[in-house]
Each structure stands twice: as C-alpha cells, then as structure tokens.
Amino acid sequence: MIMLLTGMLATAVLAGGVLALAALGEVLAERVGVTNLGVEGLMALGAVTAVMTVSAVHSPWVGLLVAIMVGAIGGMVFAFGAVVMRANQVLCGLATTFMGLGLSTALGHSYAGQPVETTFGHVTIPLLSSIPVIGPALFGQNILIIPIYVLLPLAVHFIMFRTRHGLNMRAVGENPAAADAAGIPVMAMRFWYVTLGGAMAGMAGGYLTLTYVPVWSEGMVAGRGWIALALVIFAGYRPVIVTLSALLFGLVTALSFVGQAHNWPIDPAFLNMLPYVGTMAFIIVPVVVWHRMRRVMAAPAALAQPYYRDVR
C-alpha cells in the first residue's frame, strides 16, 4: 500500500509539474487582463525544440533554456496581436495554438518516436528523500521539482500580493483605465507578463519532454495546455492554489497510470479520459456547489478586454 502510494505521488508530482508551470504562467497573463489561449501551442513548440536541442547539444539545461526562449518568442507574437494591436484575444490565442501545433509537428517530423537520450537525471537529496511517501516524490526525482512546486509559486505569490509592483499588476487586470491614470504603463505591463507566461508555457513543454515523457510525438501535449487554462479558473487566479491544483491533477493522471499498471478491468482509453473528465468536473462542480465562491474566485474584471486609452 505504501509502495503504491509512494509511486502514485511520485507520478503525480512528475505529471503535475507540466501543468503547474503552464498554469502559473497563465495566471501571470490573466492577472494583467489577457487570456492566452495559445498555451497548448506554445507547450508543443517548447517540447519539440527541447528535443531538437538536446539531440544536438546533449545538455538538458540548454534544451530547457531554448524551450523557454521559444515560448517567450511565441508569447511575444501572441502579445503583439492581442496586446499591441489589441486584436481579439480569443482569435489570437487560437491562432497561436494552431501555429504552435502545426509548426511543432513540422519541425519534429524527423525526431518523432525517437527516445530523448539526454534528460534531467535523478537527483536524490539526502535525508529529505528518505521521508516516507512524500520524500521520494518531492526530493528523489529531478532537480526541477522544488523550483516548480515551491520556489516559483511562492515568488509569484510574493510579488503579486506583497509588493507595489504586484498591486500595479493586478490593477492593470482589474481596471486598466484607473491604472493608466495612476501612471502604470498598461500596455508594457500586459506585453511583458504575457511574454513571461509564454516563456513558462515553453518551459512546461521542455519539462514534459526532458523529464516526464522523454520522446517527441505529434499530439503529445494532448490538451495539457487547455487543462492548465482550466486549472487557472479553478484556482481563482491564485499562484499557490494553482500549483496545488496542478498536483491534485497530477494525481488524477497518476490514477490512470496505476489503473493500467495493475490491469484494472477498465479499458486504457477510458482511463486516459480521466484527466479531461476530471478537469470538466473541476471547473463545473465548485461553481454549482458553492455559489458564494463565485465572487471570491472571480476573474480579473478586465480579463480579455483590450484597453483603449482614447475611447470614451
């Protein structure tokens, strides 16, 4: 039983990391008032460029860095349309996803199906990793687990809720006209946070192919970008909660693996549906059950609304 639990948690932490990174990036973008529906495409681009890089350079760090940079460039392209040109955010996001998925498949054509040889290896932190159940999951896997689950979310939380800059940032998402009047550069704020969110989506893709599923294949992102978007809504746009819900979501994924490994009498196709069914439940059930939560977990007031200074 302990073995099973340890294994499940380890898989959950590993699988949830992809979602945690992408969702945290999306929290940044949505808090400044921009919905980036391009996450799925940026993740695919990050995943494939990481694979391409490590097959040439043999360093997972360089691979991850390239994935981050590619994500940032993709984020900038989206932000150019959605923030600078103020075009419809839904369309720009979908277009970014189409471009990302199409390009990544075209780029990864000759890499498809080949196992990635250079990945982030196992790092075992002494003492901490011998804690039963959670030790091996958090401290006995790869070096990125702690940054993803502890350092990044806490840093974002601190900046967002404990600094003046964070207050400005949230003001841009809640009421850009007031923020503008107070001298906050609305467009720059939106542009750079969307870019940062894109970089984190790219990183999530790189993390996916460099740790969790070390092989590139078409469609391997498999809706994780969309699940990340749903998690942001579920977590009420809060960085720490979004990370925890990514972990919870990793558990759902782990459950389907455990089911397949233990030959549960359920077809793998149905077990593979679990994450999607789970996400649906995640975003529908809380709203139905706790009506009062709706105000607490509400989206930033100016979400998905372009800001025009000159329109009265």
């Binding site: 349309g81 075009a87 419809n88 369309l91 720009c92 998925l101 054509h109 196709a269 149905f270 975003i283």
Partner: protein, 354 residues
C-alpha cells in the same frame, strides 16, 4: 499644421474589413512564401502546382467539394453559437459524437437505405447534441466558461473513437487499423465522388441564415448576443435561448460527422475529424457572424486544405496546413481590429477652437 491621428470606431465598415482582410491574407502568403523559399522550395512553382491541381482539375474540384461539406456545417455550428456571443470550440468532439452515433446505427440495424439514412442522420444530430449538453447546461445555469468545457470534450470524443475502432467495433474483416468495417449504407453520389450531403449542407446553411434573420427566435438570439442585459429586460428568456442555440450548434457539428462517415469515409476511423471542428472556428471567424458568408469562407478553407494534399506530395508535412491556417487567422484578427480605425485630421488647440 494639421497632424494626422487615428480614431477608433465602435463598428468597422464592411468595405474596410474586406480590404484589410485581403491585405492580411497577402501578408500571410508572403510570410509563407518566404519560409518556403528559405527551406529550399520554390514558392512560385508550388503555387502553380497547387492552382493546377485544385481548381484546374476535376479531382481537385471534387476534393474541394468534399472538404467544403463538413466545413460548411462546422462553420455554421460555430457561427450560430457566436450569434449569442458564445464560442463552441468543441465542434471537433461533436463531429466525432455524430459520426459515432451514425456508425452505431449503421452497424446495429439493418434495413433499406431509405430508412437507414434518415435514422443515421437523426442519430448523428442527436449524438452532436448529446456531446454539447454538459457544456450547455454548465454555461446556462452556472455560467461556466464554455470555451474550455467544449474543448476538453474533444479529447474525450477522440479517445472514445479510438476505443471503439480498436475495440468493440474494430474491423474484423480486412483488419484495417483504428477503423470499423466499411458501412453498408452510404449517401448516394451526385457528381464524381461528391455525395448529396454537399448540396444538403448548402441548403442548411442558407436555411439557417433565413431563420436567424427572419424569425422571432433568430431576432431574440441576436439581441441576446449583442446585449444580454437588454434582452433580459425585454423579456427574452436568454437562458433558454442559450440552451437552444448551443444544442443546435452541437447538432450541426454532429450532422457534419454523420455526412463524413456516410458520404466520404464510409467507416468510422480514428483521426477522421481531420481538424474540421477546429477549422470550423476559422470558417466562422471569416464569415463574421453571417451564415451566408459561411459558404465563401468554407470555400476558402477548403482551398487551403486542398492545397495541403499537394504540399504533402512535395515532402511538406500535412501539419504545415494547420500552421498556415493559424497564421492567416492571426493576421485576419489583427486586420479586423485595424479596420476599426479611421484617420482624422486634428489641429492643435489654439485657445479659441471653433
């Protein structure tokens, strides 16, 4: 001295939108040509080849009609939903659901074609409707964002198709992978390989345009989309309208799946939706909320898909088409926004402005 500035209009004039969209498409084509040239293909030769084998050949034209048929319906599905201000990003899943339901009828029942085809049609429509039911109710009663719920169901539908075509419904005769056996019932062909689903799809789109513009229901939908508060104040049951519109949208996408199964592919296959659901979004965006515009928009999209076949013969991956579609969609989104701006001459204030 007068300086030039730009003023944003609340609605863009249609002429300027058309002009800027042409610019957007030309810019996209230039970018694509540039990328192709850099990767060692000759864009001019490729363009000539594409034109010759799509519009210039009988097979190309037949393929064009076959691509248009599902795009007309998925495009109409997204357009109808957009009329009330909602995004149905799940046409892909509803397409599969319709295809699955129609296949279920074809595999499970036996009868004359005249009985089977209507039954399969009804099953397809109901399948698509069933697939959008949860997002519909969640949207209407709990205000849950329909973009994500409809989209997630695409993955579930795709997995369900995979399960059926490798499991209970797998082809036991020819052993084809991820496919059912060839269905015994099919929509009759009218011109080469083009089946009667194509004219039916056009009639449906035109009919929808009439319903939306000429009936009370259509009027209420449009008001509900333009200003939900005003609609509620005027006594329009917005919630019920949302439900009816979303179910209609799902039904249309399901019908597209049924046509594809019974008319074109003749079997249920994994991956048979071929992004038609997602491309329906592009068609709807191109159509700008008008059902009649869905016809030329679907034609343009079908042309792009058709040229994808040519590109595959030139060692270019078929996925390039998805990237190209994304690029065009991106440019058009920007073009549509720019169309809102009108240049105005402003004179600097001199104290006594008239």
């Amino acid at each position: 001295m007068a300086t030039r500035a730009f003023q944003r209009l609340p609605t863009a004039p249609a002429g300027r939108i058309l002009a800027l969209r042409l610019v957007a498409i030309v810019v996209s084509l230039c970018i694509i040509a540039g990328v192709l040239a850099l990767s060692g293909h000759s864009p001019v030769m490729l363009a000539e080849l594409i034109l010759r084998s799509t519009l210039g050949s009988r097979f190309g034209l037949e393929d064009l009609a076959l691509f248009m048929c599902p795009l007309l319906l998925t495009g109409a599905a997204v357009t109808v939903c957009g009329t009330i201000g909602l995004w149905n990003i799940g046409a892909e899943g509803q397409f599969y659901a319709g295809a699955i339901a129609a296949t279920g009828v074809a595999l499970g029942l036996h009868g004359p074609v005249l009985v089977m085809l209507p039954l399969m049609t009804i099953a397809g429509i109901l399948g698509g409707m069933a697939w959008i039911t949860v997002p519909t109710l969640a949207r209407a009663y709990a205000g849950v964002n329909e973009i994500i719920t409809t989209l997630l169901l695409n993955f579930i539908a795709s997995l369900l198709t995979y399960y059926l075509t490798t499991g209970p419904w797998r082809d036991r005769i020819s052993g084809a992978q991820v496919s059912t056996r060839r269905l015994s019932v099919s929509i009759p062909e009218m011109w080469g390989i083009v089946h009667w689903g194509f004219p039916v799809a056009i009639v449906i789109v035109v009919g929808l345009a009439l319903v939306l513009s000429r009936t009370r229901w259509g009027y209420e939908i449009r008001i509900g989309g333009a200003n939900p508060e005003a609609a509620r104040y005027a006594g329009i049951p917005v919630r019920l309208r949302i439900i009816s519109v979303m179910l209609l949208s799902g039904g249309l996408a399901g019908l597209a799946g049924m046509f594809e199964v019974a008319g074109t592919v003749h079997r249920l296959q994994g991956g048979m939706a071929n992004n038609f659901g997602y491309l329906g979004i592009v068609v709807a965006v191109l159509a700008r909320g008008s059902c009649l515009n869905v016809i030329p928009a679907a034609l343009l999209m079908a042309l792009i898909l058709d040229s994808g076949i040519v590109m595959q013969t030139q060692q270019l991956s078929a996925s390039v088409i998805l990237a190209i579609t994304g690029l065009i969609l991106f440019m058009i989104a920007i073009g549509d926004e720019l169309a809102h701006y009108r240049p105005v001459a402003t004179t600097p204030a001199k104290g006594k402005a008239s």
